[in-house]
Symmetry: C2
Subunit: 286 residues, 2 copies
């Protein structure tokens, strides 16, 4: 069992992001090489837990995991998906990326597009951005009235409570980077032609509102962190640590579920006899 999940969890109460060191490695006392080695080592464990979850779902187990990734631009959400979720069988993963809402989405309640993207039983769902956009950018940019944003915190808590009751293990992660690290990463996107496609001028506009966003994150976390659906503020200036931490969070969620191989819903001996009767099978010990 890893010490990381507990070290990054926030299950309620006030939080000050300025008190969380983006270069920290809470719950892990090794360095980069040790972290990368552990990431590779635990990848198989994660994949195997997910396979068992999927197997259990074929026998009616409704449980599943939802990883919500919500952070500032360049915080490394894409890398988390690639390097952590990427080690799981892609057939067991459902990724939803929430961009600027379409006209159709805007015509519905803010949770409408979210509901439609929930993972099925047996799967690890990933939200790259999420319903939290509607209390973060909406608050900072005034895209919704303060009353509407206020109401949404409660709606989100209700929504996530319902998910948890339905067997969804909700793992909410804010990869937490420093202002300096974001600056360096944006600059790299400008300096490398093979990264230009990842750059959007709007990113600098958002960066100019950094303190407002940090405050909006604090409020969102305070208002929506619950014991059943805690937030995890994961230091992310060191990409290797953030990846390891998110991997351990997924492992912990799956170990809590502890999915079991389902029992055969057929008569194994009778099936073996039917199969052997068709020929073409090297008869092994029965």
């Amino acid at each position: 069992m890893s010490a990381i999940p507990a070290a990054v969890a926030h299950a309620g109460g006030p939080i000050r992001l300025a008190d969380v060191d983006p270069r920290g490695t809470p719950g892990f006392d090794g360095g980069k090489a040790a972290g990368q080695a552990l990431l590779a080592e635990r990848a198989e464990h994660l994949a195997s837990l997910q396979e068992r979850l999927f197997a259990a779902s074929t026998a009616g187990d409704e449980r599943r995991v939802l990883l919500v990734l919500q952070g500032m631009d360049t915080a490394g959400k894409g890398g988390l998906v690639r390097h952590v979720v990427g080690s799981v069988d892609p057939q067991g993963v459902a990724i939803a990326s929430f961009k600027r809402p379409t006209q159709e989405e805007l015509a519905h309640d803010f949770l409408w597009r979210i509901e439609r993207a929930l993972p099925g039983p047996g799967r690890i769902g990933v939200f790259d951005r999420s319903h939290y956009e509607d209390v973060l950018i909406h608050r900072v940019r005034g895209l919704s009235s303060p009353e509407t944003v206020e109401e949404r915190y409660g709606r989100i808590v209700e929504f996530e409570r319902r998910l948890v009751a339905g067997g969804v293990h909700v793992v909410k992660v804010m990869p937490h980077i420093s202002y300096e690290e974001q600056g360096a990463r944006l600059l790299e996107r400008l300096d490398r032609p093979d990264k230009h496609w990842k750059y959007e001028p709007g990113d600098v506009d958002e960066r100019s509102l950094w303190p407002d966003y940090q405050r909006a994150y604090e409020i969102a976390i305070e208002r929506t962190a619950t014991p059943d659906a805690p937030w995890h503020v994961v230091p992310a200036d060191r990409k290797w640590y953030a990846r390891l931490a998110v991997q351990e969070l997924l492992v912990a969620a799956l170990e809590a579920i502890d999915p079991q191989w389902p029992a055969a819903d057929f008569d194994v001996d009778a099936e073996r006899a039917r199969l052997l009767a068709l020929g073409g099978v090297p008869e092994g010990p029965a």
Copy 2:
């Protein structure tokens, strides 16, 4: 460039599956260890080509890849997805698994559910089973009239022609296993409790119709293999070879597309100045 894609391609004309050795390794003269090493080595190349395809799509490039996996039970479709497609960024992959059609699907034309599952630009789509179910099991089991099945070959050719014209590189693969290998794999699913969930009694029923299915595959391949959307009959008794072959087919498709990093649609120098003006960025050489 690998010799495998050409060695397994079938772009038209009669085919006899009995003439294709399921234990063969066409286009590759190494053994298992060399095959596995090459698979690992080429995984990065495949992932990098897909990333570039995705980048190009953000600038309007509509091209994409569709891998159609259609084979007998236990032929290794799941393993192909896990071990070949699994090396690509999961954000760049769209997997659709076609099971027994739902009532809603049955109320529509057989291509309806297929159209809805097509990958978006920049992605590698994977069909685990496909529209070919409607000319394979439907032919063998008489689920549709002979006239309807007959008509569908033409409909499929038309449909795939339209896909190709729209920028979809269609890669159709039949992982080809022997009757004996299927028997051994089914027996393993019965002998291992952690594999019971993969076993269905119906698999043995289908196995009893093996020659009919082989013939149905031959006819489907003959009627739908075209120069633009060829079939690939991939020997699959040796899992390592099948995986290597499918990887090379995907690499070849992406190399044929040859996606390019898109040019910046913004003024790089102006953006750099805007970014630096906000502070918090270590100033590098401009």
